[in-house]
Symmetry: C3
Subunit: 668 residues, 3 copies
Amino acid sequence: MTSPHAWPRLQGIAYGGDYNPEQWPREVWREDAALMREAGVNLVSVGIFSWGLIEVAEGEFDFSWLDELLDLMHENGIAVDLGTPTASPPAWFFANHPEARVIDREGRVMGFGSRGMASHSSPAYREAIVRYADTLAARYATHPAVVLWHVHNEYGVPVGEDHSPASVAAFRLWLQDRYGTLDALNSAWGTAFWGQHYTDWEHIDSPAIAPSVVNPAQRLDFARFTDHQLRACFVLERDAIRVHADQPITTNFMANQSWTTDLWAWAREVDVVSDDHYLWAADEDAHIGLAIAADLTRSVGGGKPWILMEHSTSAVNWQPRNIAKRPGEMKRNSLTHVGRGADGILFFQWRAGRSGAEKFHSAMLPHAGRESRVFREVVALGADLQRIGELQGSVVQADVAVLWDFESFWAQDLEWRPSEDVAHAAQVRHFYEQLWRDGITVDFALPGQDLSGYRLVVAPAQYMLSTADAENLERYVAGGGTLLVSFFSGIVDENDAVHVGGFAPGLRDALGLSVEEFLPLREGARHTVDWPGQGTFTADIWQEDLVLRGAVTVASHGGGPGEGEPAVTRNTHGEGVGWYVSTRLDAAGMAALFSDVYADAGIVPASRPEGLELMTRRGDDAIYLIAVNHGDDDASFVANGTDLLTGAEIAGTATVPPGGVAVIRSTD
Amino acid sequence: MTSPHAWPRLQGIAYGGDYNPEQWPREVWREDAALMREAGVNLVSVGIFSWGLIEVAEGEFDFSWLDELLDLMHENGIAVDLGTPTASPPAWFFANHPEARVIDREGRVMGFGSRGMASHSSPAYREAIVRYADTLAARYATHPAVVLWHVHNEYGVPVGEDHSPASVAAFRLWLQDRYGTLDALNSAWGTAFWGQHYTDWEHIDSPAIAPSVVNPAQRLDFARFTDHQLRACFVLERDAIRVHADQPITTNFMANQSWTTDLWAWAREVDVVSDDHYLWAADEDAHIGLAIAADLTRSVGGGKPWILMEHSTSAVNWQPRNIAKRPGEMKRNSLTHVGRGADGILFFQWRAGRSGAEKFHSAMLPHAGRESRVFREVVALGADLQRIGELQGSVVQADVAVLWDFESFWAQDLEWRPSEDVAHAAQVRHFYEQLWRDGITVDFALPGQDLSGYRLVVAPAQYMLSTADAENLERYVAGGGTLLVSFFSGIVDENDAVHVGGFAPGLRDALGLSVEEFLPLREGARHTVDWPGQGTFTADIWQEDLVLRGAVTVASHGGGPGEGEPAVTRNTHGEGVGWYVSTRLDAAGMAALFSDVYADAGIVPASRPEGLELMTRRGDDAIYLIAVNHGDDDASFVANGTDLLTGAEIAGTATVPPGGVAVIRSTD
Amino acid sequence: MTSPHAWPRLQGIAYGGDYNPEQWPREVWREDAALMREAGVNLVSVGIFSWGLIEVAEGEFDFSWLDELLDLMHENGIAVDLGTPTASPPAWFFANHPEARVIDREGRVMGFGSRGMASHSSPAYREAIVRYADTLAARYATHPAVVLWHVHNEYGVPVGEDHSPASVAAFRLWLQDRYGTLDALNSAWGTAFWGQHYTDWEHIDSPAIAPSVVNPAQRLDFARFTDHQLRACFVLERDAIRVHADQPITTNFMANQSWTTDLWAWAREVDVVSDDHYLWAADEDAHIGLAIAADLTRSVGGGKPWILMEHSTSAVNWQPRNIAKRPGEMKRNSLTHVGRGADGILFFQWRAGRSGAEKFHSAMLPHAGRESRVFREVVALGADLQRIGELQGSVVQADVAVLWDFESFWAQDLEWRPSEDVAHAAQVRHFYEQLWRDGITVDFALPGQDLSGYRLVVAPAQYMLSTADAENLERYVAGGGTLLVSFFSGIVDENDAVHVGGFAPGLRDALGLSVEEFLPLREGARHTVDWPGQGTFTADIWQEDLVLRGAVTVASHGGGPGEGEPAVTRNTHGEGVGWYVSTRLDAAGMAALFSDVYADAGIVPASRPEGLELMTRRGDDAIYLIAVNHGDDDASFVANGTDLLTGAEIAGTATVPPGGVAVIRSTD
């Protein structure tokens, strides 16, 4: 379903943040409105956690303060993204419906007092959220401030799976719907193993704590079910709003920072894709994680512009050590999101809250107040975003796709895999990082989608790969594509069952090899990889016994259990080429690998200063270069046009100072 | 309430330990009495864990063995500290009252079989402890052996918080008493954040496990409530005893080794303060932790003499590696307690028990028996304590106060702080350690108390500071005091809410600065601090963005996010001086800092050999120097008088051998 | 009870594995039979996890597929080890009997979905297993394929202890049976400590989670009870089978890889001892752990031949990093088991399963299929085992016994011991490893058994030692034996109570010393041991204060708390010698220690190349040398005879290539 409105009624880049005025007295509201105007804020998200202050008792609504607030915002020219607070039901809800509380794998009942997350399978909860969404939308559908609806908050966080009786009952129905017969379920789950055969649907439980590891197919299906239940609740709310309202409806994703939701499916249900992203402070290259988030958000949305619904002006509060952003960093982060397709830059939150679990989370208006570095940078960023308003609607194009299938993540990260060193996300990051350093724009893609538009497709540890998806990859290569596959790919089917025929049988033709046995390495073990013509590299984590069936050995293991065997292979298949790498190469090895792969794919990475991140958006009438300098030196690159931030004309060479940014309307 | 008797009827220093004769046959009792006399024991604690052997069924008492024991002790001239065993109700109690079992945050019911800790909110438990205390006191109030009553054992250990239904119900009543209205509670807890607004007292639960972090103000109040419930049970027992008995009443604290009880409040309820202290074996400087414990115990008791109710003759049994004390160490530990105000030196326990969880805990009479190093040292210590009996009643005086507010500990150590490297206790230790090395006697103090008697007040990471307390510190400086404050001080009010006006607004005048933003460092990150005139030091964990408002930069960060900004500042305010340090300095940096701070405070640390701990007690007629040599060489210091342990006359210089002690009645 | 048949009706060495055809369609069964014949398989274990596929509803059996399978096996000349699947009751069982689910210490109910482990105290479970075993045995007692019965699977794994109400009720009955009176129980458990006195059997619970550490004697008894309940279930099944069938009955042990079962007691109940063993991948010397497993398995069986019921052809799946075996390693492992007494070499499992928790576990027929390194080596191993069939029935003899008492393990590894660095298993391994390196064949033994046949008895940290057992060791020494005892031996009696008279009083005469105090070392602390004539070594973990009472100091601590005190002592007692070592010596120190100890014991280790493992089996008519070369070079040793694997005649010197094996029928 697509809304009649694909984008909120806003000019230029949306700018603002979560606004929680219910934490503050009325005089602060007036001050906030004035400061928002000073900062160039044009959109605030309101009501995300306000259930109990609006539905003050079950079925009894008091909208007076919200009426007043929306009017205030509208008077000040600030649009509103109006939230349904269904991520946090009020205390009375749990008192009236104690059975709606979430129960975790260990049987622990999740109490009230933090975010009051409820069971998404609870009939009482579903009734309540529809009532709320309906009542809210009926009241504000025509309010002139409201330009966007914000359903719930970060579905699946902080808890996704629910083992309450309501959830177990719903799981049984979901399974009946999926499998039809118990024979089909027994077959899909492989219940003959460990004596798990089912003869009655009512005997099936959620995969809660058990004497040993629970059936992985059951756990995978429970992950699918969890995603389904969350999304079903979204759809209930969305449809209740749509009865009354025409504005676009969204919910804020968590891209690569939450794993409970299949964002490919979710993106089909929202009118506008929006995402929350927070830097991981312990990561010295956290901006690469940010780039992944932005590319993934854009990709699940099919390349359309999207909204960065939350990020932070400085430190967050929930990490072990919450590193403050340094001057210019918030701007760099924001412009990178823009460069990768965001047309809205919002923060959690407008004003730092004095109380509660997140009072040490930074805000647009920090505890230090108006006279502070952060607020000064917030004002400056608002002005910058106004200067680049013309980018709104322009798009990002990519020649390379990296596979990203949430179901494969769910399966791969279960217990009892060959090595706990092969987390899926880390493998994706490892490959993406080289592409980032080479300045290559990347889309993420599903293995089963049409990939013919890409010069290169990369599959890092794509553990789960259905036969159909493997055939799609084979066709892609045969048709002329270049495919780069890492170890531990194509191992299981959609039921987490090893493919008939061994490991990765579906990739044999494309890659020209078969995988006979995994050779995980001991903790800390490292071995060389000898690559004639490229040099000697280091690798770790994994090796494999391969049987080449047409592929050529490009590099070999210099030690370890697979000593002398192929580490990197290349295979021509049809019109294309299939590369395979059976270990985790170090950074230099990855650079060598990609340099050869690019050659096959016809990709020529531009030479650029290290630390310069260069992105391109294409509008109807112009091309925009967004440059972000993460380095400590001036960074120059070839450009012609106008720097929209400074108004400077660029002829031939643009230079961005250390930590700086540029947005150039290109005339090339 | 103060008892008519401020100290047990004993001459000199009390000496002895927990005595659990119920573990042994009668013939052992006779041997014990003889060996106690040999060791100079004059006080034993009896009955701490004897509930089930005295109240053999609910309401049915059998005192026969205890009668016999008290008579035996009295015949041998050994006084008794008679315990109520309410820390460990018997098996029949839990069988009769299963609802009185403690439930933890995760909903797990704590079973019987270890210490049978019960819910302190349970009506059945409260009825039972009053019945027991009343019956016991009625019987033994006039027994000539009994000189002290010992209620319960280590309140709050091993479990403090209780989430049983009785506790939740009591919590609601406590909250109604504290807040009066739900509006006041909603405001104090900041329930507008994350949608936690309450409309009914019955909707409030204990802060048990929830989907994410629970409201910190709720957790802080639950810590207060827990302390209150424990203390209310103490008061019930104390008052039941007082109806019958005149002897002083105590309960054994855990000073800096348990965090559940606000000892400032507890000290007001006991007649005599007593404390348990155990070395932390992994700490190579565990004697500094001991000094903190002793100073804190003395401080909460208002400087009056106190009893070391438990320590160990050698190893304990509950640490990962239980290091045995080396020859002389028990004596050094004991004399340090005396030097810091203890007038009683007792041990857990008299005779090593053969069975149970603590059989590897050392004792005065170890498993090896009478012919053992430990027992020989026990006998020698008994003789030494008799030699210094005249110290009884003398007092310790301090020029320096270090702030210690249990409520601030409770708040600071909750989840989601800016950095998990800033545990409150470690910061206090960091500052105390320099004072210890400089030989400065320290009191601990509440931030709101009269501080005018101190030359220097130190506030290490005093995270919670009410406006009134901050004003008290400001007045202290304005009146001529020297105040040294570390980073992360004065951040929140008594509800764990950030102060209006940002971080540490109440300290701005005294310190001449404001704190704009925290800059926690990454794990392991270290940077220099440049201190003109003092040198270059290293620091870690934390930096800050400061705005100076009158303060002068004394030292600066040489790197890190706050590079070039102030690391140490000094501000004259009124008649006094306020120092601020925005990072964690290494040991050399702390020495430099304090050397400057002492100069402002008019404190001149005496030059002494490294490792020599020198303490002073002042009696009505004499001054006593207690010297403990922790070093490997002879340590000499200026003294005149008589060494009470050896009888030697000291003229000009006293010398203590490595590992030795001296107690000098000074004629200076 | 001993079966009329001490060994299954098989010729030569048994070879095969678990076979789970219920996971596969019928056409695969035919292929399997053919490939088994190719591999020389003569025994497969069937039905281990098939409960729900045979008893399809409570009391309703369908044996059709099993009939077909057994016939197929028989037609192909493959014998069957027929299992009872009682380690994994079906879903309907738990639906019908929810109270039969296991509950863990924390009160968590173990759900269905992995291995469906049930409460072994549940009446419903016991009824069900007897019904199943009876029905199965009645049907197949005379089937010609069936040569062995395989009851249950790995008793005690993955869960042993059960805190369900049925278990608690059974525990009370077991205690009444053990102790007779509550007085006896109170005395044995030392309930006077911490106020745990019991006045009613019904007040006693399982040692579930409690506020602090639970009574260790109670935990020790619960471990005994757990073992008893598991074994009682085995006996129920065994006796039900025996009513119908004459074949030997076994259950697969876990030797040194599970700690829930007292294998000395279990071995008395089975007709044939069998064991499962898996390499611990993180251990670079995992083959030494394998040797311990094999020696322990043989020892508990009284030296009789035994069956290796499960090991792996390559990697397992349940370790953090599952290291694949390298070419030849499976053969070396298998021959080591043979060399240490195994007359059967079986694997988990025949064909790799596609689904479930263990799909990445290797198999005889791997996912890669017939054309794979693993299957080729499986075929070769089958042929090798046929070549050495004459070894069947020959035995292993040892001059050295290492004490191994499961009850002492249970007691020693409870909480609150003097140092967590003294795990019992690690100490046993430390001593065994030196014996292994010296090529000494080792039996494991109980401290109370007749030891007079051994030249040397080693007691590594034999924490629990009853007075009677200590007297047995004293008699052994007095009679001429050599005894080597490590620190932390002889500390407690069978109730985990410290012996009257201090530590190790029962060993004073044999060792000529007493232990006054433990001196555990801090983490990472290392000190020298000075051994005149042998050199200087390093040691860690532990020292002790010893009082010599006749023993001579052989080596001394060069530092640490016991500096200058004895580290190693020697004592002549009667006709024998008692050695004591009070620290953990490094490898060189252990070599020095044993070289002196061997001299006293009259043991002369043969000089052999490093890495060569040489084992001897003695038949009625021949002696067999089994040589396994773990090294990287050719290894030669003195031998005369015929290599059964190659047919080569050996005259004087045999040489085994790196990674190779030899089995020589010796003519010496």
